[in-house]
């Protein structure tokens, strides 16, 4: 449980970090909070020859709420900082609700949102939350920068749209419309454990109490965070009655592709998804009032 030898670089600027990554390519990994990468290195599952440590790079951890209620989060913002950020809690309360279930306080103190998303573990909460919030990611490299929608970012287990020389630099969340409610719900074997199933629900209603928009996404539900657009669409125009929720849950169970784990069979995961999607939607709907 000791890592293989590696070279460690500690750049102090984004430009320097990107230059190092460009130079070392696939031999190099960015080190953010280290909560996934370092254990993998200790198991020697990951044996990067070079670590580019981002912890000394200035200006990557800002959290800012825009006048319109949008939110930008620097990739190196610690999960605990986001969880406790008063503006973020108000603008996108599902962030704090889901982060509260991410591992344990010690891990959240160190782990970063950018590192978590770049790791792209399909069992992780935050990629699913990003889908449900229609996040966009600012990606930088020595060649320039580009933006990618969350829906196009996660390509497979531990696989993202990031090129070898690219860094996820910033997470941009559009504002939630008025009369929106959100909820994160997950079922894990123990507190802080990987979810056997997790569901993010974002619901918007109009002044008459009719649902106008829904976004749903699940973790531990397939090779990537899994959106459930058909289930979401089925609720638009309804009042989210129990029957509506049951129909949406049934659709969602068809839209996901859980593969099972040592903790849960695929059939149980699918069952759970239906149960907690209905519960999360009901909670989000109440909060949208």
């Amino acid at each position: 449980m000791k890592p293989a030898p590696f070279d460690w670089h500690a750049p102090e600027s984004v430009a320097e970090a990107l230059a190092l990554k460009a130079r070392h390519g696939e031999d190099a990994r960015f080190l953010a909070g280290g909560q996934s990468l370092v254990p993998a290195m200790n198991f020697r599952i990951a044996q990067p020859a070079v670590l580019v440590d981002l912890n000394r790079v200035a200006g990557l951890d800002a959290i800012a709420v825009g006048a319109d209620g949008s939110l930008t989060i620097g990739a190196m913002a610690r999960n605990a900082a986001i969880e406790r950020h008063a503006g973020a809690v108000k603008s996108h309360p599902i962030l704090a609700e889901a982060l509260h279930e991410v591992a344990h306080p010690q891990v959240r103190n160190r782990g970063t949102l950018g590192g978590n998303l770049s790791h792209a573990d399909p069992a992780s909460e935050m990629p699913a939350v990003m889908l449900a919030l229609a996040a966009r990611f600012l990606i930088r490299s020595a060649r320039g920068e580009r933006q990618v929608a969350a829906a196009e970012f996660f390509l497979g287990p531990l696989t993202t749209a990031l090129e070898l020389d690219e860094m996820l630099a910033e997470i941009r969340l559009p504002p939630l419309p008025p009369r929106s409610g959100t909820a994160w719900l997950e079922i894990a074997r123990r507190r802080g454990e990987y979810a056997m199933m997790g569901v993010a629900a974002v619901v918007t209603r109009d002044a008459a109490g009719i649902c106008t928009a829904v976004r749903l996404a699940c973790c531990s539900a397939g090779p990537t965070p899994m959106a459930a657009p058909k289930a979401a669409a089925s609720l638009v125009g309804t009042k989210l009655t129990d029957a509506d929720l049951a129909q949406a849950a049934a659709l969602l169970k068809q839209e996901i592709a859980p593969t099972g784990s040592v903790q849960a069979s695929p059939a149980y995961q699918r069952h759970l998804a239906g149960v907690i999607a209905a519960r999360a939607l009901a909670t989000a709907w109440e909060r949208a009032a």
Binding site: K2, R44, R189, R190, Q263, S265, Y268
Partner: protein
């Protein structure tokens, strides 16, 4: 000061050191010039070793030695049979013990193949990665029933099949009991266990002092004296030349009683050969496959009852996975076989088990050590019988409890300690009644109905258990009063968190009239005390405690004799209290124990012929057989019927382990045991593939219960002293863990009304996922 010390709820003498990080653990041993070992371990459950290329590893900078089985020469020997089987008529027992490094064939994932010693653990692990082993994978033996088929591959090619043992024991005439039964209940059960996962994994440091010609070994063993004796013999040293220290150990639970682990054989040998200290600390990944575990049993049981629900007889036939080797003999299956009878009067018993070799990690006792398997079977059978007979589940138990006037109660089987299975003492009905009262059994039906009306699913469980504890052979203790007036106690057992520094001190202080804080206890250092067997089978308080009591009684006699001579009075006129002896009624005529110790060890002048110096005594205690503790657990659980997530609402333990030495320590033992029982019942499971790979060898995937998963519990006691030892005590190390699987099964069935749906819980461990599958067999 209190004169009674036994029974006081004292906080622990050792805790200030432990809580402030000043206690020595094996990994704290840092020595100049120390080298570090790492092991290449088999990635296959079963494979032939075709070749091993260590050239690149040897060439790596910082590598000092790379050793294969061939390099060990005559030092390569299979480990000793630790526990030979008891003399049971007609039994089959085929011993195959673990080897230091695999030769020719690997038999389980994690079996060591090559040892590397280097200047750091980092370099040693790098060098392990340099080694190339050519394996030819062979089909492994994994499933128990498949292992029995005639075309199964064999774990040990030189044996005719995979049967490690085949043992039949009987009491009474089961066939006759069956013939007159009004009811016959038949069920099949599977019970899997996990890894003990102590907070501290195994570790060993060895140092050869070539000037003193002495080998010192720090080892996380539960049996330092046997390790010392064994190492001396293996290494060709005299026992005087080997010192084994088992310092503070972060949990033992049984697997640290196994010996000799390959690393225990190899690290001291390497330290001698290289004349440099060598350290090996097991990492958690290694722990999951290289430290012994407990594992599967499959039971087919039949219960014969009369029309009133009185047990007439039990027949049980079970298979047990013993892993790739069986150095621990039959301890685990014998415990299952014997403990199945539980606290009930069973006139006829017919039991057979077969222990099966498989290509999985070795099985040796882990807290409960097979007892929970037996308890699970009997308690589940009674639940099924209660339903068939339309009896209340508490009532069917009450009708079958061994009556209080039936002790000593003879079960006519041979137990793991080779002694007949006889329950020395007990009074079971008050235990059950106390548990039922404390959990609110009488009111529960109404509580359950009220909750159900709110859509909540509450269930209650109540189960009984016994625990054979405090077995022989013997332990010893040496007590001495120092010139300072403080008292030392030394014993050969190791300590892994049981509170020995306090409970043994209480036993001594009780006799010597000193403050418990003034008794300094040394455990697990063979240079201080080197007779004894070790810490296992819930025997420390019983066997070592009784030895400490015996030594303290002798020292008390010496104290009074010395004081009587000093005061020139009769011993009967003396009072021993508060660290001094005084004359009754004349408290100013007083001499401290320190002064008496100096009188007993004069520097000048003549002593009487035959005088033995000092206020010191050594005493040994060996019980004629084990003392049987008993108890009942009761629980109210709530299950989310959709997600199958459980929440424990109330938990009651009623425990009878005879005389209680320290209720605070006892409560800690029981609560820790319940925590492990909860882990076993609902969280922990070693998940293996069909080709013998462990899928969850990390604490991220193998789920130990956390503080949030273990409820507060009411721990209540009854006290039925054992007549087998002077303290009247019985062991308490394992009772907390034993009945929890049976308790969960019953409470979950109750919460979800499973029997009414034709569903029973017949397996452990459970999980939300598994429970959902059981409840939804069609998916």
């Amino acid at each position: 000061m209190e004169t009674r010390q036994i029974g006081r709820p004292l906080t622990r003498n050792e805790d200030p050191r432990l809580l402030t990080g000043r206690a020595l653990f094996v990994d704290d041993v840092e020595l100049p010039g120390m080298l570090h070992a790492a092991f290449l371990r088999s990635p296959h459950a079963r494979a032939a070793i075709r070749s091993i290329d260590t050239d690149a590893a040897k060439a790596r900078a910082g590598v000092v030695a790379v050793i294969t089985a061939e390099d060990l020469g005559e030092y390569w020997q299979p480990g000793p049979l630790l526990v030979p089987p008891p003399p049971i008529k007609g039994m089959v027992f085929r011993q195959r013990c673990q080897v230091p490094l695999a030769k020719g064939e690997v038999r389980h994932v994690g079996e060591p193949v090559v040892m590397v010693v280097a200047e750091s653990r980092y370099v040693a692990e790098d060098a392990v990665g340099d080694i190339v082993v050519e394996y030819e994978p062979l089909p492994p033996v994994i499933g128990l029933e498949a292992a029995l088929s005639s075309d199964s591959p064999r774990v040990h090619a030189d044996l005719p099949d995979n049967i490690a043992a085949d043992v039949h024991q009987a009491k009474g005439d089961y066939a006759a009991a069956r013939a007159k039964a009004a009811h016959l209940i038949r069920r099949r059960f599977t019970y899997d266990r996990g890894a003990s996962n102590p907070m501290e994994t195994r570790g060993i440091v060895a140092q050869w002092d070539h000037k003193a010609e002495k080998l010192t070994v720090w080892d996380t063993t539960q049996a330092p004296v046997f390790i010392r004796n064994g190492l001396a013999a293996m290494l060709g040293l005299s026992e005087r030349q080997v010192r084994v220290v088992a310092p503070f150990i972060g949990g033992g639970f049984g697997p640290k009683m196994m010996m000799f682990y390959p690393e225990e054989v190899l690290v001291p040998w390497m330290a001698l050969r290289l004349d440099r200290p060598v350290k090996w600390i097991e990492d958690r990944l290694e722990h999951f496959t290289a430290t012994t575990q407990e594992r599967s049993q499959v039971h087919d049981c039949e219960l014969a009852l009369d029309a009133r629900g009185k047990i007439l007889g039990v027949r049980d036939d079970f298979l047990m996975d013993t892993g790739a080797y069986n150095p621990y003999g039959l301890t685990v299956p014998l415990n299952s076989q014997c403990t199945l009878l539980n606290c009930y009067d069973v006139p006829a018993y017919d039991s057979r088990f077969r222990a099966i070799y498989t290509n999985r990690t070795l099985v040796t006792p882990y807290r409960g050590a097979g007892r929970q398997h037996g308890i699970f079977v009997m308690e589940r059978m009674l639940d099924a019988a209660a339903r068939e007979l339309g009896l209340d589940r508490a009532e069917i138990r009450r009708r079958n409890l061994i009556p209080a006037d039936a002790f000593p109660y003879h079960n006519e089987l041979i137990y793991q300690d080779f002694a007949p299975l006889t329950y020395d003492s007990g009074n079971y009905a008050p235990i059950l009644d106390k548990a039922l009262h404390a959990i609110g059994y009488a009111e529960f039906a109404a509580e359950k109905a009220k909750a159900r009306a709110e859509g909540r699913h509450l269930g209650l469980g109540v189960v009984c258990y016994v625990e054979g504890t405090g077995i022989g052979p013997y332990e010893g203790a040496k007590v001495r009063v120092q010139a300072s007036g403080k008292v030392t106690l030394a014993t050969g057992v190791g300590t892994q968190g049981q509170g020995h520094f306090t409970s043994f001190a209480q036993v001594v202080a009780e006799q010597l009239g000193v403050d418990v804080r003034d008794v300094e206890v040394t455990t697990g250092d063979t240079d201080v005390f080197d007779w004894g067997a070790g810490t296992f089978a819930s025997r420390g308080a019983v066997v070592t405690g009784s030895a400490a009591h015996g030594a303290a009684v002798e020292v008390r006699t010496k104290i009074l004799k010395t004081a009587a001579e000093h005061f020139e009075c009769a011993e009967a006129d003396l009072v021993l209290a508060d660290g001094a002896v005084s004359i009754a009624g004349v408290p100013e005529n007083r001499i401290t124990l320190g002064e008496l110790a100096r009188l007993a060890n004069p520097m000048r002048g003549a002593v009487k012929p035959g005088t033995v110096p000092g206020l010191e005594a050594t005493s040994y205690f060996g019980p004629q057989m084990g003392a049987t503790a008993a108890g009942a657990h009761a629980m109210v659980i709530e299950i989310d019927a959709q997600t199958m997530r459980p929440t424990i609402l109330r938990y009651v333990v009623v425990h009878d382990c005879g005389t209680v030495l320290n209720p605070l320590i006892l409560s800690g033992q029981i609560q820790g045991g319940v925590a492990q029982g909860i882990g076993n019942a609902f969280f922990e499971e070693l998940v293996w593939t069909d080709d013998g790979q462990l899928l969850n060898a990390s604490l991220a995937d193998y789920l130990l219960p956390t503080a949030l998963d273990v409820p507060r519990m009411d721990v209540l006691h009854t006290e039925t002293p054992s007549p087998l030892n002077p303290l009247g005590t019985k062991g308490a190390g394992e009772g907390g863990a034993i009945p929890v699987g049976a308790l969960f099964a019953q409470a979950i069935e109750d919460a979800l009304d499973l029997p009414a749906r034709g569903i029973e819980v017949s397996e452990i461990p459970l999980s939300p996922s598994r429970l959902w599958e059981i409840c939804n067999p069609s998916g």
